[in-house]
Subunit: 225 residues, 2 copies
Amino acid sequence: MRTLFHFPLCPHSRAIRLVLAEKRLSFEVVVERVWEQRPEFLMLNPAGNLPVLVEDNGLVVPSFYVISEYLEEAYCDRPEVSLLGRTLAERVEIRRLVSWFETLFAREITNRFIDERAIKRLSGRGNPDAGALRDAYTAMRSLMRYVNDLAETRGWLGGSFLSLADFIAAAHISCLDFLGDIDWRRVPAVRDWYARMKSRPCFRPLLTDRVTGVTPPEYYTNLDF
Amino acid sequence: MRTLFHFPLCPHSRAIRLVLAEKRLSFEVVVERVWEQRPEFLMLNPAGNLPVLVEDNGLVVPSFYVISEYLEEAYCDRPEVSLLGRTLAERVEIRRLVSWFETLFAREITNRFIDERAIKRLSGRGNPDAGALRDAYTAMRSLMRYVNDLAETRGWLGGSFLSLADFIAAAHISCLDFLGDIDWRRVPAVRDWYARMKSRPCFRPLLTDRVTGVTPPEYYTNLDF
């Protein structure tokens, strides 16, 4: 059986779970606590990061960028329209947004919140740092405004069609929502777009995930929030 | 004319310069000091990072990952063999190494050395931090051993053919060599592979680049070092 090594609060793992489900590729998940640096896991992926996909034929595909490009090439007819777009310009715009979330948004917002609110405690590195959380909130206000502009002016975040940009964005935002860190009143267009994403069948397994010691807000699983 | 916004000591800019030259795509370069956060540059690339490619037709292609995938798709017949490989397994392995350099190697080694030895001074943020340099040296010893194993056991870093993995690796290593931070005696197989990379015509412009206030070691430009 196709296997995905993941962690419930890892946005890149969530994005790949969404894409696999959207492409109707069945898989089982194994939770990996990367901070424990398990030697068997480092053999699979010397970069030591999540997620890692292991195909039935034994092919090991590590890291979000490699997996997402691999899935597009290996299963290009699922769904019929590529998640990366058709024209060169579309593909540049989708990948630009994916990269924007994977680097800037992750570094300034998601990684900070997840590290301070969950991983620190799970890995025994003490309590959240108030300064780091404050910086993350400041960055969130400005970067979420940009996402709101995209959601307001386009059908989907990357353009007129559902794409990998929507899945990576929804994965990040679902992590932040799980931690209760999004003020939805500030970003109404993101809220409408996220409600559409959340109602897709691929999203269901993410909404039932739980992490020891972190309780998501009540509205986290609601399609109308 | 095709334009690349770059910085001489940015490894991702160097990698794209190598790929453009290898594909015989002419371009002019504009030096961008990203830490100045020029509004016109942030309009081109909201992520604010380098490099950014602007095509003759006005298409803006920002960030290493987006540009490298774009160049492969737009100019797939230059060179005749794809720099990402032919089979799915080859493409996974090449992209895995690219991602390994782009994330782990960059974060633990290249970014630290460049920031401490050059950017801090250029941007008026003071002197190098001895602790950060010590951490970078420690990481370098272990990660360069991995690169040495690859160079020792394969024709090229990603397998039996020249690929994007070689260009990203050579770009990072050329930055470290410019700063005089590589102990070549420890990694003889990397040295032999790097001598081959350095002798390619695409490499010449990189070797003549200079950065105010940083003097590369004498052997930096030698093909026999």
